[in-house]
Symmetry: C2
Subunit: 424 residues, 2 copies
């Protein structure tokens, strides 16, 4: 990566100003036709016909701008604008086009279309960068059809194994290896992607999927971290008994024991600064009859924090709380998921912050609560993310919504940062 310059970079400013809000918005509306739902959302499973047609549409737009399309073995799509030094690794930007079954128009798609818009703005402004620029579509970010998600970026960065991923099957028994040829057939004849690896840098624009930017009235967020995540599965085992005939002293009530555990967790996990995310989303009581004392409770903990040390410390506290086994019940506690936090590269976040200020965009530094392809890229190259507000923080939902002005603001910041990072 070229060192970020300290002084102003006129070409970056020019590129940002060349971003067209109306064109960016129109492409979102057109893209939403592929897998569009009656409720105004998008159902575009990874490697589906709708996903293939969205890819086809994007390649058409890219070729109109003069970008060169290529693909890799898992179907990641790269749309390249050459730099003045063809041997340098590309500065990349992008996200994904697949969606949740009842997803929205903006999750993933925005990062791809903002990248296209930035490259079009740069191209139309006649700006030359030293590094090549590439817009990338990572396949199967959502993981709702084929698990796990972030397959495309996981394979690109070597964190997932291609052979293993090709064998993954969906709920109907179709393997990735079966779905992939049909998906690729929508854009025939693409050459194999062959840029220098690793990329010089990676930027991903995305809707926030949370309520903070909207609450603050800010147009863009500079993401400094993706929170680390741990999942726990807690099982409390007591004894079923008759609600009418069993006095409290003789009960082994799994519900009340779980209630005691949650009270202890609430006390120990309370964060006055409200950075920690602590959620109990599943809580199942059995046998679940009004007049039977519960024999068993199963519940989950979803714990997130940008600092891995905090997560490790709190994991210990959760295990300590569960070791007690209140009300004569036994308690088991298992960690079922452990994704370390991602810290984005200082120089990338500094560059984004500087350009947000230079472009006079109301902005915040923030932490991503959700996972993104940029987490994988951050392990192989300097990376960063730009967030834009989405209405009421609603996402993974057909009602997902964002304003054309905010989408354009994020694309302007992206265009400026790309030119800066690529040596404009």
């Amino acid at each position: 990566m070229t060192n970020v310059t300290d002084g102003p970079c006129p070409s970056a400013l020019i590129a940002a100003q060349a971003v067209e809000e109306e064109r960016l918005w129109r492409r979102h509306i057109e893209m939403a036709r592929h897998g569009g739902t009656p409720a105004g959302g998008v159902n575009r499973p990874a490697f589906s016909e709708a996903d293939a047609q969205a890819r086809r549409r994007l390649v058409d737009w890219a070729q109109d701008i003069g970008l060169t399309a290529s693909s890799d073995a898992i179907g990641n799509l790269f749309l390249r604008r050459e730099g003045s030094d063809g041997d340098l690794a590309p500065v990349m930007t992008g996200s994904h086009l697949d969606s949740q079954p009842t997803g929205g128009k903006f999750d993933g798609t925005y990062g791809v279309l903002a990248g296209l818009e930035a490259l079009e703005a740069i191209a139309r402004s006649g700006i030359e960068t030293r590094h090549p620029l590439e817009v990338v579509v990572w396949v199967n970010e959502e993981g709702s059809r084929f698990q796990p998600g972030t397959m495309g970026s996981g394979i690109f960065t070597g964190e997932m194994d291609l052979a293993a991923v090709l064998k993954v099957v969906d709920a109907t028994g179709i393997a990735v290896a079966d779905a992939l040829p049909h998906y690729l057939a929508a854009t025939p004849g693409l050459p194999q992607h062959s840029s220098a690896y690793p990329p010089a840098a990676f930027l991903e624009a995305h809707i926030e999927q949370g309520p903070l930017l909207e609450a603050e009235g800010h147009s863009v967020g500079v993401v400094t971290h993706v929170q680390g995540l741990r999942w726990f599965a807690i099982e409390v085992t007591g004894e079923a008994a008759h609600a009418g005939t069993t006095p409290e002293a003789l009960r082994r009530d799994a519900f009340m024991a779980a209630h005691d555990l949650v009270a202890a967790l609430n006390e120990r996990l309370h964060d006055p600064e409200d950075v920690l995310r602590f959620t109990i989303g599943r809580f199942e009581v059995s046998p679940g009859s009004p007049n039977t004392i519960p024999a068993k409770v199963f519940f989950t903990i979803d714990l997130r924090h940008p600092d891995n040390r905090v997560l490790t410390r709190l994991t210990k506290q959760i295990e300590e709380i569960c070791a007690v086994g209140p009300r004569g019940c036994s308690v088991s506690c298992a960690t079922t998921e452990n994704q370390p936090a991602t810290v984005f590269h200082d120089r990338v976040t500094a560059c984004l912050g500087r350009w947000a200020a230079a472009l006079q965009l109301a902005h915040s530094s923030m932490v991503s609560g959700a996972g993104h392809d940029a987490m994988h890229l951050a392990r192989v190259c300097p990376s960063g993310m730009i967030f834009v507000p989405c209405q009421a923080g609603i996402s993974h939902n057909e009602a997902e919504s964002a304003t054309a002005a905010d989408l354009a603001a994020g694309a302007r910041l992206l265009a400026a940062a790309l030119v800066d990072l690529a040596g404009g």
Copy 2:
């Protein structure tokens, strides 16, 4: 009812001594063949073939002892031994023969067979009573096939309407009116029951279905009350949101709000004397995904106490707690069931206590946590109940178990009390 005598009643003692433990136990084993399950339990739905055959078996035994069988319109079965004054209302005892789908050998059956054993002991001892004695089988106590339960005793006492009950259908669409003729056909030609009404007294022997007698090492319990019962349905409504992106300050977490409510309920409903029964048996969280903040919680409260005034006071407190609506959530609270407490007749419980002492049976005064046919009878005549221990308090379960010695002890107390109440 004849006034209970203060002095000893030699014939009552003789009747008690004539109770045969082995005969009573053998009849339980034989009766358990009707609807017997491989796991050693009983599946004998109301008005089923197994229920009809159990009735047939009982009538055969009763006729061998010289009792006269009769039936009423809903199929309640009465097995009568005449008294010296044929115009007096009978002193009745009994329970039910139907079972839960995976029920045990003793629930209900014991009260019927203990009654039969008591009358056999009285008959074999040549004791004459002033009042007639009747063993009764109340139909459909369990209510697991046709709802509600305690149909037979409810109709007998006028608390339920025969025409309405005949229209009740089971899960397969069969009405009580359709099932009844087949049930009655197993015991053809029984005359219509025509005793003086209301009965002079009613006694019901039953397994405890709770752990107290076993814990105390007592053979019999004299039941003074059946607890009153109230059910509440509580619904807490918040808002679903992303577990990773939504800070606590912006959450409307229905699970955590419900947790706060339960904490408040636990504090207000704690009874240091452990008489109150407070159970949360159903607690359902939706959407129930580990990484989604719960939008809704539904939970039930089962509240029981022998004093109706206490239940009324606590109902008010529950409504007050639910009126608060913590963490920005809304809360609704509905009373879905309200069965007032039953207080058994002083003279009956005094009689049972006196005879338990005279027979040197280790005994306790106690409250029934479950509902029984005796609740209905208590509204029309002096009534009472005798409990015997069941292993670990387990009931409504194929593993239900009781000892032959305890069953006989309860039958001895029943025989003595029947002679006493009937003027032996």
